[in-house]
């Protein structure tokens, strides 16, 4: 007798775990930018491109999770 049954792919859980790191990373990047802008408002324009570059580099980790989920879909036991 099945008391409780969960159906679906474990990939969803895996992706949830994979998103923790980039989530923290992106938070740190924006926190650092806000802090530096609050301390030195005139540096806001100079540091802005670097913030976006850092954001993009960290964000790609979460996005790799999406991409590899599809790439390895066929081989993963569901």
């Amino acid at each position: 007798m099945n008391v409780a049954e969960v159906v679906g792919s474990t990939a969803a859980i895996g992706y949830g775990l994979a998103a923790i790191g980039p989530g923290i990373g992106v938070g740190l990047i924006f926190a650092a930018y806000i802090q530096s802008t609050a301390r030195q408002p005139e540096s806001a324009r100079i540091t802005q491109p670097f913030m976006w570059i850092g954001f993009a580099v960290v964000e790609v980790l979460a996005l790799l999770g999406i991409a590899f989920g599809i790439v390895w879909q066929a081989t993963a036991p569901s």
Partner: protein, 262 residues
Amino acid sequence: MTGQTIVLADTPFPPTVDDFFPPSILPWGGDGQWFTKITLLLWLSVAILILYFLLSYRKPQLVPTKKQWLAESIYGFVRNNIAVDMLGTKNGVRFAPYLTSLFCFIFLMNLWGIIPYFQISPNSHIAFPIVLAVITYVMFIYVGLKRHGLGYFKQALILPAPWFIQPILIPIEFFSTFIVRPFSLAVRLFANMFAGHMLLLVFTLGGFAMIDANALLAPVSLISWAMTVALTFLDFAVIALQAYVFTVLTASYLQGSLAEGH
């Protein structure tokens, strides 16, 4: 546009990758043909961009008209805030036309993802981001080789560090500059557009699935559709951001290629 009308209520709930492959458009018709909505949107984007910039610069005036003002602001934004800021005045102005085209093209291609009736971005097929990333990749290597000759590879791979760390550092630098860069550029754009479309699908189709499952769930499906509207606005932010990020990263790679040695 026969064959394009998909009844959302009949689409099975958990959306799959198959939902990213719309059927061909008549008169070429039939599955497996080449002329799909994606092709149409690509052609539309190219046509709109060429026509828009040609028409708004046809009779340039000292006091710009509305159309000219908008085109000039877009070009001015990319030139001053991205190209000149990152590459310096001389090189910035040199690369500004390409960076502007890149920015506008990616922005327009992404924008199809939230325009009603179209609502899929061609960039959610990885082929398009790959081509854009390859152009950037070839360009920054070519510019580096032209600027420094073969010394470019020495400059890119060998950083000022103690000699005993070099055996680790050089492979890492090679991996990050020549393998990860184009790969991450392509995957970033693709995955953002893919995830955006998938989110909209999940909440739209989820609403229908809940209404079909149980009449008591109907209020929840209204919440689901309200989320779709909210997520469309979020998607717009992502669209603009990804166009900007792709352009900034291209400029930053060019900056690395043009920089003087350490």
